[in-house]
Amino acid sequence: MEAFVFYLLATLILGLGIMVITARSAVHSVLFLVLNFLLVAILYVTLSAQFVAVIQVLVYAGGIVVLYLFVVMLVSLKKAPELRSDSRRVARTGLLLAGAVLAELIAIVWYTSANGSAPPAQAASDFPPRLAGDAMLNTERLGWVLYTEYLIPFEVASMLLLVAMIGAIVLAKKNL
């Protein structure tokens, strides 16, 4: 059951990913991207990370991709970018190289798995915010860690978002 769900989700995620980068229309790309993200969110749920899953939907699907959709619709293209090409492009080589890297990575994973040196199911981590079996506590614990251990990074992230917001307004507005 678990394996079935995983393979189904993995197949869909990879397939949608490929469709994202191969779709002709940018709008279709965006659509596939949304679906991809929703499926990733479901994957998170299976990994008992409900909060992250919800955030994934709320921020990625509900926020960032909407932004992409807006931009795609605003940038109405008179000529598709793919029609013109620069001779110095390295697309084909890049494709091959990426495939090679992927193969290598899989080889590494395979090799590791074959040697049985997979990380132990219960790592000897004594760090306090351990995930309890009770999923109810996931959000609370995450909140606790974010607001104690990672308070300063969290605040820095909020400042980053503020700066990004102002920057985006300055960049995109015609006359301030």
């Binding site: 678990e2 394996a3 993995a10 995620i13 990879l14 490929i18 994202v20 980068i21 940018a26 790309s29 965006v30 990733v40 990994l47 008992s48 990370a49 992250v52 955030i55 994934q56 921020v59 990625y60 960032i64 932004l67 992409y68 931009v71 940038v75 293209l77 970018p81 793919e82 090409s85 620069d86 492009r89 697309a91 890049g94 494709l95 990426a98 495939g99 890297v101 992927l102 990575l105 899989i106 994973v109 590791t112 798995s113 990380p119 790592a123 981590s125 351990r130 995930l131 995450l142 860690v145 974010l146 251990e149 992230a157 909020s158 978002l161 990004a164 920057g167 985006a168 960049l171 995109a172």
Partner: protein
């Protein structure tokens, strides 16, 4: 094969990552390149969440939250730049964005 280990998630993550990389390398529409970058970030997130579950440690999920925050910032500023660029050049072809070349 029926037992799902973090290695499976790692392979999934690597594959999604490479799909994103290929998108960055191949596509010429800069918006799609940005979306490919989002795919890459998601690949990383999958890995983080999977290992967080495996190690029963929340730090992975904390980092996912930060990655999402950074992704949001990146998307906002990046798309702002695209809009500004498009307003001046009427194009989103990355091959034509080579003003800083010698």
């Amino acid at each position: 094969m029926l037992e799902i280990t973090p290695l499976h998630y790692s392979v999934l993550s690597a594959a999604l990552f490479m799909i994103g990389v290929i998108g960055v390398l191949v596509r010429r529409n800069i918006i799609i390149i940005f979306m490919s970058i989002e795919l890459i970030l998601n690949a990383v997130n999958i890995n983080l969440v999977a290992l967080s579950d495996q190690l029963q440690n929340l730090i992975g999920q904390v980092f996912v939250v930060f990655v999402i925050a950074v992704a949001a910032a990146e998307a906002a500023v990046g798309l702002g730049i695209i809009i500004a660029f498009y307003r001046n050049k009427e194009t989103v072809n990355i091959d034509e964005m080579s003003l800083m070349r010698w």
